[in-house]
């Protein structure tokens, strides 16, 4: 029965007499992208940390399959000035890789030219790409991405999400993705969990977007600038399984 990489059962975290998040259950399997969305302070990062076993749940159980390789892209990392660290050293942080593997990972996220650059000279977006490259280089079974596109420019954002999808196909890993914007990640996601201290609603993206709980949190009217993206990404499948292109690129 247990073929999940990671499974949370009714998990909650209690800090200072307050539940940061409670009653979260989720499962991530191989080759699947599960997305967590929710407003600030809704417990997305806390949930991610439970799935990585950095935080022990005060209630419920978290099971991680034994012996799997895990990569984590945290929401925030600050590198102290006193640390001399190049991009290549950062990729090698947890596990040492061959230079060719590092080059491949950096090319996938588009920063191959920065391999010997000091990490503190990178811009916010470049650093985010470096975090991603490091995570890919490990060829993980389970990948947790906590808001992986913050600070990345808009075209880069779409490209990075496409990259994430390619990674899943290539190394067939399971991904837990935290995003503030469902519309951008919609077409890449298999399952969505909408959090606000507890699970508001969950299901396939097309279903969740119609749930009253979701609409209450994120509003029904989509920002016109985002509508463009929804239009671009939310494609329909024809009965034979091919993608209906008629509505796109217009």
């Amino acid at each position: 029965m247990n073929n999940y990489l990671v499974e949370l059962n009714n998990c909650g975290v209690l800090r200072n007499h307050k539940w940061l998040v409670r009653g979260v259950s989720l499962k991530v399997s191989q080759g699947e992208i599960v997305t967590l969305i929710g407003p600030n302070g809704s417990g997305k990062s806390t949930t991610a940390k439970m799935s990585l076993d950095i935080l022990k749940p005060d209630e419920g159980t978290n099971n991680i399959k034994k012996g799997i390789r895990i990569s984590y892209v945290p929401q925030k990392i600050s590198i102290d000035w006193s640390l001399p660290l190049r991009a290549i050293d950062f990729v090698n942080l947890v596990k040492k890789h061959k230079t060719s593997e590092i080059n491949d990972a950096l090319s996938i996220t588009g920063i191959k030219h920065l391999i010997y650059e000091d990490v503190r000279n990178l811009s916010g977006g470049e650093f985010q790409r470096l975090l991603m490259a490091r995570a890919i280089a490990k060829e993980p079974h389970f990948l947790v991405l906590d808001e992986p596109v913050q600070g990345v420019d808009y075209p880069g954002e779409i490209a990075l999400y496409k990259t994430i999808q390619e990674i899943v196909k290539k190394i067939n890993c399971g991904i837990l993705l935290i995003s503030h914007n469902l519309h951008v990640v919609m077409s890449q996601t298999d399952y969505v969990i909408c959090l606000n201290g507890h699970v508001c609603c969950s299901g396939a993206p097309n279903t969740v977007i119609k749930e009253p709980e979701y609409i209450k949190l994120f509003g029904k009217n989509i920002d016109p600038t985002l509508a463009f993206y929804q239009h671009d990404h939310d494609h329909e499948h024809l009965p034979d399984g091919s993608i209906d292109d008629s509505g796109r690129d217009s």
Binding site: L52, Y72, R86, L93, V94, K138
Partner: protein, 273 residues
């Protein structure tokens, strides 16, 4: 060869500088610069206990340092106070305890100057052995725990999430510092050991672009300072420990000059050609 006190001083100083280089880098990276001082403050308590109970001095200082290090780790995990506040809290309270105890046990006389500055010229052959064997164990251990320790220094949660054990590495690292300080306090004094931990690492930061480079250069700077400092102190007849530190300070000031830029620009010109 080891009959000569100068040779023994060189051997002890060089051995110590080799170890304090890489250890000092981690102290600087983890913002624990005040840690050496804190442990040093606890040394008075260790020395008092050693005299009161007629116990081996190095072991007493080591035990007290370890207890202090463990309390620091405990406080770090239990409170949300920043490290420098915790270190200040521990340093001064442990010094106060030491002084109170010393007042109660009024029959004890401690040579405070000796404790502060040590005397590298009076080290005997056993001391040298202690430094080299102890130092060797410390360096080997540091190399073994390098990856989890370093990854945890960069980002604790990332290291934990990806299956390393940074907490264990941090505990071992803290004990390593406690033991180096305990070994060297009698030999070179508090001032020299804490200085040797911080200043070469700080100077090395100005010259290096990778962590391993910084650790190695830090050792080299430490060794050079010991060699030059010892010779200078003999020529000018100055006290040895402080002279060595003045030399490391001199090296630090030199590293502030734009040497690295000069080197890099030369390299670039070569590539262009």
């Amino acid at each position: 060869m080891f009959d000569d006190f100068i040779v023994r001083a060189f051997a002890a100083g060089i051995g110590l500088a080799l170890v304090t280089g890489p250890l000092g880098c981690f102290i600087v990276w983890r913002r624990l610069s005040y840690f050496g001082d804190t442990i040093a403050h606890s040394a008075l308590l260790g020395v008092t206990i050693a005299y009161a109970m007629n116990f081996n001095l190095i072991i007493a200082v080591f035990v007290v340092s370890c207890l202090l290090a463990i309390s620091l780790l405990f406080l770090q995990r239990r409170t949300s106070l920043p490290d420098d506040a915790l270190l200040g809290l521990l340093a001064h309270s442990v010094l106060a305890i030491g002084l109170v105890l010393l007042g109660i046990l009024s029959f004890i006389r401690i040579d405070l100057m000796g404790l502060l500055f040590g005397d590298i010229l009076s080290v005997n052959f056993t001391d040298v052995l202690f430094v080299w064997i102890g130092g060797g164990v410390v360096l080997t251990t540091l190399i073994l725990i390098w990856r989890p320790l370093f990854a945890g220094t960069v980002n604790l949660e990332l290291a934990k999430a990806e299956g390393l054990n940074p907490d264990l590495a941090t505990t071992i690292f803290t004990l390593l510092i406690a033991s180096v300080i305990a070994i060297s306090i009698k030999i070179v004094g508090i001032l020299l050991i804490t200085g040797l931990l911080i200043i070469p690492a700080a100077a090395s930061r100005n010259l290096s672009s990778t962590p391993i480079q910084m650790a190695i250069i830090s050792s080299i700077i430490g060794v050079c300072s010991v060699v030059i400092g010892l010779q200078t102190s003999m020529i000018w007849n100055t006290s040895t420990g402080p002279t060595i530190l003045v030399i490391t300070l001199g090296v630090f000031i030199i590293t502030l000059l734009p040497l690295k830029k000069l080197l890099i620009s030369k390299k670039k010109i070569r590539i262009v050609r």
